[in-house]
């Protein structure tokens, strides 16, 4: 899966979790840029991403999911490692 593919799939995850199809993701986006991205929805994002990509984040990795770019990067690495 290319990085663009990952970002596309991740966008679908964000659309589902925030129930907002107008969200356009860019790597530098953080919780401050998206309405409703709080600690509660952050857990939802991680769980929904795990489901969509068929991966499991390690507890240590959770702390690095601070912005969209990191999110996509960790996912790509996990997909490559499979």
């Amino acid at each position: 899966m290319t990085e663009a593919d990952v970002l596309k799939e991740l966008t679908a995850v964000f659309h589902d979790v925030f129930d907002d199809d107008s969200i356009v993701l860019s790597p530098e986006m953080t919780a401050n840029d998206i309405d409703g991205w709080d600690s509660q929805t952050h857990v939802m994002l991680t769980v929904a991403a795990e489901q969509r990509f068929g991966i499991k984040f390690r507890t240590a990795e959770l702390e690095s999911l601070r912005n969209v770019g990191h999110f996509a990067e960790v996912i790509s690495k996990k997909l490559e490692a499979r």
Partner: protein, 639 residues
């Protein structure tokens, strides 16, 4: 993990949700959400469904509008772990069970404060259910590993005393039904299989604590959300409590499994207001036995010992028979010739007998129409039926024609049918009384009574011939469970349709100024059990020597037998003894209780003006007790 497997699969739920979101009217969106909640869904779908419904649910909670097909339900969650992520799932599962849930979440970890101190916000919310969702990490029992069984028991008994105090406060302060979640073990075993032999080992401790919680709950009228048991049975797969979710967000239940958790709580909420299903309707060919009896003959069907397949069908029959023993009505709906279908019940290996089936419909007409017929034969609503059919096409048609009927998706293998029907939680109970155990028999007897009626030449002769004896007693501890059950599930013969928890019924019954009656009826065919409940009390809106009939309801099984006339006799004489001069009747119309619109007029009450604050549709009636009124029934009364 796959969950809610009994719900039908939507071809594209995500697209349907996006489409529904475009609807601008909040109540119309709520209606769409209610319909879509009936499909299999993961937690993201469920969260989106909740958003779709939230504005409409909010309007209902504020009383700005009502949705006739949804019953309001207020649930307070008091927890020692994070539960916010479970709330959407609870609300959506509520919708699927025709409840408009509002959910109040007490501040994290503050469950003791909410119950032991004044909590104005919780009081304003007026919960009907208070759920105590506790976990193993909350206030662990501080015991050294080498503690003796006696020390363990002492510590557990102290913890149970604390819980009972909380339960009592919940009942006294908020008149709410308490639901206690059992404790899910948090730690992996220390000793392996030896664990349970060490009294203070973590798993042994929790097991003992849960056993004590269950026993205390039974004594105190508290319901269980038995999460520990569900987890042990594997309902949640491996994933109920994921360590990473605990470390990340103090979540005991992983968001993935929130839909299942929500469903398990919603089914208890629905049961507490009498909205569990009552009747299991079974298809025959390839559902109760292998093969087609019309083609293969009674000797040719696969059933019973000797073949794995025959044993699997037998096991499903046995499960249905057990459900009947706990009071679930059984019916048959099959495309067959009636005589052929009935003949199959003479097969020597049948676990179900023809007499277990209260309504037996076998013909070549469409199943939706036949299910309607079954509901009317049994005097129950379509929303009381669960229809089990191995044929996906029949399931699909019935779902489309009769959305009120629950139609579980079935696994490919009949060996898995019992577990699937059980997992769907259609028949969640909040009580079990001796009357439940004999209900199936009662429905069968009713069929005989109907036959007797068609033989009797006149109504009076029929009623006299029944040799009915009515017993009326105040609602005491022995009648409390069954009376509350009847109060909460009777829809048709119910004058006010007020729902009360056991705690509330107990409070009304113990007030010396009120008159409560639990009414039983026997006849020459047998005991009908506790079939009617009446609760009357003085009310500020009326003079103090007039008695308001707050609730009057009756099982439809004994309709048309003048039971209400006999009950009025008992009520009138009890009220006169207590010094009352008149009875006030109240009729609050609902979608379902049209049959009693003229109830008070028929009994000789005259209509009187409604008090100022009453709803405009409610009618009020008055019966003067200072004149004798002759009774007109053929029932021997024992009060």
């Amino acid at each position: 993990m796959d969950q809610l497997l009994w719900l039908a699969q939507h071809p594209d739920l995500g697209a349907a949700l996006s489409e529904a979101k475009r609807e601008s009217d909040a109540i119309a969106r709520l209606g769409m959400a209610t319909r879509l909640a009936g499909y299999r869904r993961d937690f993201t779908h469920t969260t989106r469904l909740d958003r779709l419904a939230s504005e409409g649910l909010g309007a209902i909670a504020r009383g700005d509008c009502t949705a006739p097909e949804l019953q309001p339900m207020r649930i307070a969650l008091l927890s020692s772990h994070t539960v916010d992520h479970l709330v959407p799932s609870i609300r959506v599962a509520g919708l699927q069970r025709r409840l408009a849930c509002s959910v109040y979440v007490a501040p994290y970890g503050m469950y003791r404060q909410a119950l032991l101190m004044e909590d104005a916000e919780l009081a304003r919310f007026a919960p009907q259910l208070i759920v105590l969702a506790l976990d193993a990490r909350d206030a662990p029992l501080q015991l050294p590993l080498e503690a003796s069984q006696a020390e363990v028991d002492a510590a557990i008994s102290e913890r149970i005393d604390e819980l009972r105090l909380l339960w009592r406060r919940a009942r006294e302060r908020y008149a709410a039904q308490v639901v206690q979640q059992t404790i899910v073990p948090a730690d992996p075993p220390l000793f392996g299989s030896f664990e349970a032999l060490v009294p203070a080992a973590p798993f042994a401790l929790i097991e003992r604590l849960n056993a004590a919680i269950r026993e205390a709950a039974r004594d105190d009228g508290v319901l269980l959300l038995d999460l520990a048991w569900e987890a042990a049975r594997g309902s949640y797969g491996d994933g109920l409590a994921e360590p990473v979710r605990w470390h990340q967000a103090k979540q005991l239940v992983s968001p993935n499994l929130a839909p299942l958790y929500g469903d398990q709580l919603a089914r208890i909420a629905a049961a507490s207001v009498g909205m569990s299903r009552k009747c299991l309707v079974l298809d025959l060919d390839n559902t109760l036995w292998g093969g087609v009896v019309g083609d293969d003959g009674v000797d040719g069907i696969k059933l019973g010992q000797g073949s794995p397949c025959g044993e699997a069908f037998l096991a499903f029959q046995r499960y249905a028979a057990l459900l009947a023993r706990r009071g679930i009505i059984l019916a048959v709906c099959s495309k067959n010739d009636l005589s052929v279908a009935e003949a199959a019940f003479k097969h020597p290996e049948m676990a179900l007998k023809r007499s277990d089936i209260a309504a037996f419909v076998a013909n070549w007409e469409d199943k939706a129409g036949n299910l309607r017929r079954i509901a009317s034969m049994l005097d129950i609503g379509l929303d009381s039926l669960v229809f089990v059919d191995d044929n996906p096409a029949e399931r699909d048609i019935v779902r489309r024609e009769l959305p009120e009927v629950a139609v579980p998706e079935l696994p490919d293998d009949v060996a898995d049918y019992p577990a699937r029907v059980a997992a769907a939680g259609y028949f969640e109970a909040v009580s079990f009384t001796p009357d439940d155990a004999t209900r199936g028999r009662n429905y069968a007897l009713n069929a005989e009574r109907k036959a007797a009626m068609s033989h009797a030449t006149d109504m009076e002769g029929y009623l006299r011939g029944l040799e009915m004896v009515l017993t009326a007693t105040p609602i005491g501890s022995a009648e409390l469970a069954r009376s509350t059950q009847l109060i909460n599930k009777t829809n048709q013969f119910n004058l006010t349709t007020r729902r009360y928890s056991e705690a509330e019924v107990e409070r009304i019954a113990s007030d010396p100024r009120s008159v409560t009656l639990a009414i039983r009826l026997t006849d020459k065919f047998g005991d009908n059990g506790l079939i009617s409940v009446l609760m009357a009390r003085p009310d500020e809106a009326f003079p103090e020597d007039e008695l308001l009939i707050d609730s009057w309801l009756m099982s439809c099984r004994v309709l048309g037998r003048q039971v209400e006339e006999a009950v009025l006799d008992v009520l009138a004489s009890t009220a006169i003894q207590a010094g009352y001069k008149a009875l006030i009747g109240e009729y609050r119309p609902t979608e379902r209780n049209g049959m009693v619109a003229e109830h008070f007029a028929r009994l000789g009450f005259t209509q009187r003006p409604a008090p100022a604050d009453a709803s405009s549709e409610t009618t009020f009636w008055r019966l003067d007790l200072t004149h004798d009124t002759p009774s007109r029934h053929f029932i021997e009364v024992k009060a």
